[in-house]
């Protein structure tokens, strides 16, 4: 058997590929990495296809034992990485040997990190994806988070060359707390005053913030309607329930809902928000859908044009 044995699963470690698409019609949500940029970098630094299966480690605490030769990389939140007790650089592929112990400690900054292995973890797909959605009990190993004793299969690939991402290209998760929102959906149900209140206020991330959605706390925003006929919810949608406190819906959101929505946060920014811990403060900035398209395309080009350094 070639792969990794889970000695300690950490607080919340989930098997994730890029996500589950095309199944909303039967009620299945997307799943996938909440910080897709860090996820893509993790795969790229070990030369994997970008949708390969990785581990999404929330908060840290993962310990694994290698039972194969392979290359691994850790990208994302600042979780100290140790191989056989020696601290190693993150955003940097490392060759490991069978018997090596890999430890990912608790995060100093940021909430999610992605651990990729050369060739990707070999996990059976359900509905065209390995992405774990615990609420639905789908993906990963029987739809659950990683458990002690789980075995993560991968192909031996120690000879493979990996990469490191130079410091200047590594994202900083706390630089910018203004998150960009496109107004849409029921935005006409929010008066100009309510919109101005929303875009000029500061909101706190509550402890009810998870992969399904981030509940925020701050000045109450009130739409002129109570609810709507249930309709599809897209990634980043910001719904305002009766208490006036916004909820930003993320990867594990329910597919259909009936609360009014002021608009949606762009994916580049939900990725940054998902790195925030409860108590963090954020504000919103309105952008047009054209600007959002431009930002998305530019980010895509920048990612493709950023060349990581090869490691021997």
């Amino acid at each position: 058997m070639s792969g990794f044995r889970v000695i300690q699963p950490g607080l919340l470690t989930l098997i994730q590929d890029a996500g589950r698409f095309g199944h909303h019609r039967i009620g299945l949500t997307t799943g996938g990495p909440v910080d897709s940029l860090a996820f893509k970098w993790a795969n790229r630094l070990v030369d994997n296809p970008l949708n390969s299966t990785t581990l999404e480690i929330s908060f840290g605490g993962l310990v694994m034992q290698a039972e194969t030769d392979a290359q691994i990389v850790l990208a994302g939140a600042e979780m100290p990485l140790k191989i056989n007790g020696v601290e190693q650089d993150r955003w940097h592929a490392h060759k490991i040997k069978a018997g090596d112990k890999i430890e990912v400690s608790f995060s100093a900054q940021g909430a999610r990190a992605y651990l990729a292995v050369s060739g990707g973890f070999q996990v059976e797909h359900s509905f065209s994806s390995s992405a774990t959605v615990t609420r639905e009990g789908i993906g990963g190993f029987t739809g659950d988070k990683l458990q002690q004793g789980d075995f993560l299969y991968c192909k031996p690939s120690g000879e493979h060359g990996g990469f490191r991402l130079p410091e200047e290209h590594r994202p900083d998760y706390f630089d910018d707390i203004s998150l960009r929102v496109i107004t849409g959906y029921q935005q006409q149900a929010f008066s100009d005053y309510q919109k101005r209140l929303f875009f000029s206020s500061e909101y706190k991330v509550t402890d009810r913030a998870d992969r399904m959605g981030y509940r925020l706390e701050g000045p109450e925003v009130k739409p002129s309607i109570d609810g709507i006929l249930s309709e599809g919810i897209c990634h980043g949608a910001i719904q305002i329930p009766a208490d006036g406190q916004p909820i930003v819906l993320l990867n594990d959101r329910q597919t259909i809902g009936g609360y009014p929505k002021i608009g949606s946060m762009i994916a580049m920014d939900t990725a940054r928000m998902a790195q925030l811990l409860p108590g963090s403060r954020i504000s919103f900035e309105e952008i047009s859908i054209d600007d959002a398209h431009n930002l998305h395309c530019l980010a895509h080009v920048r990612f493709n044009n950023t060349e990581p350094e090869a490691i021997d």
Binding site: R25, G27, L28, F127, E231, T255, I256, S264, H296
Partner: protein, 237 residues
């Protein structure tokens, strides 16, 4: 023909890569049929550019790949498609019969609902099982089909305190909607019976016995038939 001049149809921005089409403001089989038609045609028209779609009662969320297209192109494709939609009547879905074991044992809210309506439990069962329902939407959880509409005499508001645990297969009513719980979950709908048919089975092909646009009829069965069909009572808390 449906024309974009029809004011009841609107296309709105939902997110950076999502537009939502509103076909109307209320639950209506002809509106729902238009939603279904649009799903089928857009799937072809946006082939390779589409990420996912979420049809619901009177709306369709269209999620597209921003690297393959943009909101202007998707909007113009949607406009073209809306002009192609024919009259809705000929888009009736399959008729699916779901066995239903209605009883006090399997439906703890049956008596209260009957009492509220001023009917006997048998009359409630008759009204619920005589009606043909339409699958308006699937969502909330995998396989949760929103069916409508129940006879207004048996419409009932959600429980003031939702239950912690509703068993898989529970047949339930909330307002004029009815549904079968696909899995054990919390729930605030009124429980009137149990259905032995699995509404979502990830191992089965197809994974669901119904899809949006289908028609559903409940067929009352006895306790013995319920168990013979593999039904389980499950825990209610």
């Amino acid at each position: 023909m449906i024309s974009m001049a029809d004011n009841s149809i609107r296309i709105e921005v939902a997110g950076e890569n999502a537009l939502i089409i509103y076909f109307g403001e209320k639950t209506d089989p002809s509106v729902s049929a238009r939603v279904q038609q649009a799903v089928t045609i857009l799937e072809t028209e946006l082939n390779g550019k589409l990420i996912d779609m979420v049809p619901s009662y009177a709306s369709l969320l269209v999620i597209y790949d921003q690297l393959a297209t943009d909101h202007l192109e998707v909007r113009s494709t949607i406009r073209k498609v809306l002009n192609q939609l024919s009259d809705a009547v000929n888009t009736e879905g399959n008729l699916v019969i779901l066995p239903a074991y209605y009883s006090r044992e399997s439906g703890p809210d049956l008596d209260a609902l009957a009492q509220r309506a001023g009917l006997s439990a048998d009359e409630v069962i008759k009204l619920h099982s005589e009606m043909e329902y339409r699958v308006y939407a699937i969502g909330f959880a995998p396989g949760f089909a929103y069916l409508g509409e129940v006879d207004e005499r048996i419409a009932a508001p959600r429980l003031s305190t939702p239950r912690m645990k509703v068993p898989r297969g529970a047949i339930a009513i909330a307002d004029r909607q009815t549904a079968v719980y696909p899995a054990v979950s919390p729930g605030g709908w009124n429980l009137i019976g149990l259905c032995p048919t699995r509404m979502f089975d990830p191992e089965a092909e197809p994974t669901m016995p119904v899809q949006v646009g289908d028609r559903i009829k409940f067929n009352p069965i006895s306790r013995d038939e319920f168990f013979a069909l593999g039904g389980e009572l499950g825990e209610i808390k």
